[in-house]
Symmetry: C2
Subunit: 726 residues, 2 copies
């Protein structure tokens, strides 16, 4: 990087100069003043000082001829690429509707960005026509045609020739080509217009690399990141950014060894990814909507598990939003957790932003909510890389106001201003976003040690990597936990297992108290495998069993029921079974509960009253049973603790009045932060969910602790016409 070289030079020269100046200054001074003598003498004695050939000065300025002309530190300007000729490429209108509702990749996109920069004084161009001298803050970078040779660095000759041919096609041919293409359009100016953004992007990067500007913004169209080596697509003809990156790597092998391309366009940059998929010199990171490949460009290439191949393996990172509607919180989270750590470890010499603004709030194609200040914050973070060698190249973005405001916010960061505050910094990222980012980190931790640190160095501690062989060799934790429950219940309460005709389930799925067959009163607990509270070793990432506990919320109820001498059936529904991919805890709980009812309870001679206690997902089995059998003759009450789990509605197959009955005779406790409540303080629950109550706390264990008495009292009341003990 030669960037600051000239400056450093005359600054070195200056240092000596000023040093001598000071020496004199000080001599004169020490003869005059007295107050300072102590310090001054000290200073003259102080050895370090001689070494440095400089010394302290007086507070009284000594007049010396000002000779600091060469000394001024003039920060470099920000480069700007803009050329009205890029507006010639436009869609040929074939219907009146296209007048009303023009194609989103609209020639005015670049103009509106240029205009807002002028309106805010970042550039001075009263005519808004793209003049040469645009003021003190930004430097005009002339746009030029890219040469065929440059374009062929990424694209095939066939593709180049095809685009070239469009300039001589007649209207019909153009319309046919437009028809055939994958959401692209052509007119006779397309070829001419398409060579300009390529040339512009190259020049914008060059200016940064050569230190003529501190960073740059290329306001160009048509965009490039969907253009693959062989084909145009997604409004893109040539792959602007990819070609620029290849060009820089080729022409500045010494100063630029690694380039990072950060693509925050809401679509996956399939073209750019393909151009460097096997190249370890370019780290491509893209944040985009994916939605199981349904979102454009709609191929699995955009999936988060596409991490590059050959030498390029580990140098491709897709952060795939499973839903639309993401915004600042999700992008900041992604930058904090993935982009910045990875980038710092990669140590790029140049950072290029493939800057589509279609994730911006207000863009009807992206349907996301990234605010201008969030674009500012992301730019600010990326500016801290590569000594600030940053080039921003426009890609998509179709709401003319949104792209203008977003680009302005980015430009302000480039010229050195701080970012605005985020409008809503307190919002949590969506759970779906946290989950996908977690997946990305775990996958990429194969290649990046910064992520190992986040997840510990332990070779493997993630389910994804726990394969059959490991399981066969080792032991599922949930089984150990259930065995421990069996031990406790059989030792303390003489519980025994109750046989099930479901071979895939562990034998100890259902346990019962010895008195259950004779009991008048039976409590049936259906629960998930209890939670574990564990401490992860921050270095190794493993769980230390000696500092972890099994938090078994059912035990309290069983103790209580045992004191009351009730009969008890305890049902444990595993959330997953390693052996079975298609296993569903919900279905299983429904089958098991129905089975217990049909094959046991119905035949218990003395049973007169039953209470259900459901904990976690397992509770869906209870709701299902109540809807499918008429249990009202014996079932007196139903208690469910669902924490964060999904609500289950009672679907009355037997009798419509079941819903009312369920509402009257049930308590359903949910976490304070259960999604059902949203922000509304007092939302009125639907009857079909039972009497749904919002707890003060979160977490199964906490809400059970909070509502244990309320629950048991409710059960006792429902039994009250009977004596409480038998």
């Amino acid at each position: 990087m030669v960037k600051h070289l000239p400056l450093t030079l005359n600054h070195r020269w200056k240092t000596k100069e000023s040093a001598t100046v000071l020496l004199q200054t000080n001599k004169q001074f020490t003869q005059s003043d007295t107050t300072q003598k102590r310090n001054m003498t000290a200073v003259k004695e102080e050895p370090e000082l001689k070494k440095q050939k400089i010394t302290d000065v007086s507070e009284r300025p000594v007049i010396v001829p000002p000779r600091d002309a060469e000394l001024s530190y003039t920060p470099l300007k920000t480069g700007l690429c803009y050329d009205v000729r890029m507006r010639y490429h436009a869609k040929i209108f074939t219907s009146y509707f296209e007048y009303i509702d023009p194609h989103p990749e609209d020639p005015r996109r670049i103009y509106r960005i240029y205009k807002i920069l002028a309106e805010n004084g970042l550039i001075k161009d009263p005519t808004l026509s793209g003049i040469e001298d645009i003021g003190d803050l930004m430097l005009k970078i002339p746009v030029r045609d890219a040469t065929e040779e440059e374009i062929l660095e990424v694209h095939s000759k066939e593709h180049y020739d095809f685009i070239e041919k469009t300039s001589t096609m007649n209207r019909e041919e153009l319309l046919k080509a437009t028809e055939k293409g994958d959401s692209v359009y052509f007119n006779n100016d397309s070829f001419a217009s398409a060579k300009l953004p390529v040339g512009g992007s190259i020049e914008a990067c060059k200016a940064v690399v050569e230190g003529r500007v501190k960073n740059s913004l290329a306001v160009v169209r048509p965009p490039g990141h969907h253009a693959e080596p062989q084909a145009a697509g997604g409004f893109c003809l040539f792959s602007n950014v990819a070609i620029a990156a290849k060009n820089i790597l080729k022409n500045y092998p010494e100063s630029v060894r690694r380039i990072m391309i950060l693509d925050w366009d809401i679509h996956h940059g399939n073209g750019t990814q393909k151009a460097f998929y096997d190249d370890d010199r370019v780290l491509y990171i893209s944040l985009h909507r994916f939605e199981l490949g349904k979102y454009y460009p709609g191929t699995i290439n955009g999936q988060y598990d596409q991490t590059g191949e050959g030498k390029g393996e580990g140098f491709n990172c897709n952060i795939t939003w499973p839903v639309g509607g993401v915004g600042d919180a999700e992008y900041i989270w992604a930058f904090e957790q993935v982009v910045m750590p990875m980038a710092r470890e990669f140590q790029p010499d140049l950072v290029i932003i493939s800057s589509g603004f279609d994730a911006a709030d207000g863009d009807s194609i992206g349907q996301c909510h990234v605010t201008p200040s969030c674009y500012g914050h992301m730019t600010h973070m990326l500016k801290s890389l590569a000594k600030g060698n940053l080039c921003v190249v426009l890609e998509g973005g179709y709401n003319l106001d949104a792209i203008a405001r977003s680009a302005l916010s980015v430009a302000k960061i480039l010229i050195g201003e701080p970012p605005d505050e985020l409008p809503d910094p307190l919002r949590d990222p969506k759970p779906e976003a946290i989950e996908i980012i977690d997946k990305v980190i775990r996958l990429q931790s194969k290649y990046w040690k910064c992520f190992k640190r986040r997840y510990g160095n332990a070779g493997c501690n993630f389910k994804d990597e726990i394969n059959e062989s490991l399981i066969s060799k080792n032991f599922p934790l949930q089984q150990a936990i259930r065995e421990q429950q069996l031990n406790t219940l059989s030792q303390d309460f003489k519980f025994a297992t109750l046989p099930l005709l479901k071979p895939e389930l562990p034998k100890d799925t259902v346990l019962c108290s010895p008195n259950v067959y004779q009991s008048k009163t039976v409590i049936i607990c259906a629960h998930d495998t209890p939670e574990i509270w564990a401490k992860r070793d921050v270095i190794q990432g493993t769980i230390d069993p000696s500092s972890s506990i099994i938090v078994d919320s059912t035990l309290d109820f069983i103790k209580w029921a045992n004191e009351k001498k009730y009969g008890v059936i305890d049902i444990n529904i595993p959330q997953n079974l390693f052996e079975q991919e298609n296993y569903s805890a919900i279905v299983t709980s429904q089958e098991v509960l129905t089975y217990i009812w049909d094959n046991y309870l119905k035949y218990f001679p003395n049973v007169e009253k039953v209470a259900f206690i459901g904990i976690g997902d397992a509770y869906s089995g209870i709701v299902h049973l109540l809807g499918h059998r008429d249990t009202r003759s014996v079932v007196k009450s139903v208690i469910n603790f669902i924490a964060q789990k999904q609500l289950r509605a009672l679907v009355p197959l037997v009798d419509e009045s079941l819903s009312d009955w369920y509402f009257k005779n049930s308590l359903v406790f949910s976490d304070k932060s259960h999604t059902y409540w949203g922000d509304k303080e007092n939302k009125k629950p639907r009857k079909k969910y039972g009497r749904l109550l919002r707890c003060e706390t979160d977490g199964i264990n906490n809400i059970v602790e909070e509502r244990f008495e309320e629950a048991t009292d409710f059960i006792l009341d429902s039994f009250e016409e009977w004596s409480d003990s038998e």
Copy 2:
């Protein structure tokens, strides 16, 4: 914040103007050109457009009178506070040595910073005497005396009067006061000098808050953050930053409601903390060496668990380095993990950096290694807060070169330049640092939801919070795991428990094969409770047992020994016991192994050859036994898998030659990344550690898998004079 108001105003005015200009431009154009007609008409039709009262323009500039004079966007300068008068406060010399080796809080500190700014052209002051006009980049902020009223906002009248009195003390009184103070000194100029940094800090903050500068740097001394309301200390007389913060909160109640003070001086800012300990308007975050309170100021107030009190609870955060020698990696990690998330959630209106540079590389008091570029990166990150309203106030820092270089790097960020690259971005933070930061996050997650997200929302999932009551109610995981091992071994291999006379240990600590009493050959496995590979719920932070497995590395060896029909003793040493605070796994393993030897093995009638297999910390018991008993008659080989665990040396109490014997007859497998190896590729291990070998991988389970054959072959060889099966 009025900062950009004037600009925004005349920009609004401008927008209308230019809109009309464009309208004309375009009309003219659409009559002329043809190529563009399509687009242009479209543009005129397009409804959104009318709404906006603007439209597209031609690529041919239309000459209009330039009227953008008012429009220029001139970024604000960076404020600079410097006044030579602050150099009057100096130590009275009492011995010749103080000439040779002056007091570290040396008057030249501020001068050297001012000088390097001038030498690099950030300011223009050839005389280096603190002139008014210092050029285009920085704006001189005049320093003034703080008033008594201002100082009393933080300090007691007694303290103020005492400092005032120093101006009239005679030499003896000054020396006595210096003597009595907690590392402070006084001369007759101390009072005068000490009022200036206070006034300077106030003015530096004011200039930012009033939008006269974009941010500011106060190059002031004496420093302030150790000065408590009642007393001077640590070179500090008045609490500059605290007084400035109080002043701003008082005088700008509308625009400044919350202030964040980030103190990266290597010492804890006890004075600043005390001033706002019960105040929720000020978030004080300090990164400092603590070392169990031994490092200056040496009180527990600097401990990480001091989080504020009353209204201020949760608004104080101490990040305490347990060791010296920390540097960029640790500071960047702390900023990423703690400082920035907390700051973003706090949403300050002003950020003040208590900017000591004594953590800088080269500072002999701080003994840490923060580089200038790291100070740049930290400043850059903080600049993204509070709309960039940032004020940097000098505190400590005693290596004149280091503080100058560091301050220059900070100043460049302030004027808008990007930070330099970190010299060693790949270094991992020290484990001690990762651990303390983990502690801080867990503690602060009580108050900050950004941390809950990092650790899941589950009410509690950390050992710290797992108390007796929880344990009594619930079930230790390690016990469940051992019970599962017992089940497996007793079912598959008919193992039984071997009694121990250690009531505190679980009954199933030692298991043995049925044939062990008669066996000629016995394998003794001593291991820690097996690891768990688990997936943490990224939202809830709980462990899902159904997707977790117990990775039991011993099982392979037991199966192998069983096939060989060897006798087997399996010893499980828990790492911790909830019930016992003073429990030590190391001591226990030593006691148990010795006990087994003295009370069982010695009396086995047929035993002729024994092999030990140690896994994890439990292996120390084996090494201990070999050193304290002469077992060589029967023990043929020793295999240890220690992964990351600490090396244990054999201390031969019986016979010196034991070490050689141990080295010949043992294999000790360690992780690839075991600290012992450091960076050295082929470090020659010490004999006392046995034959220490470095594996290709990390993690108990992986190294056992890697070396299982080598281990068993080694045992068989050591048995070879005997038949391999009996």
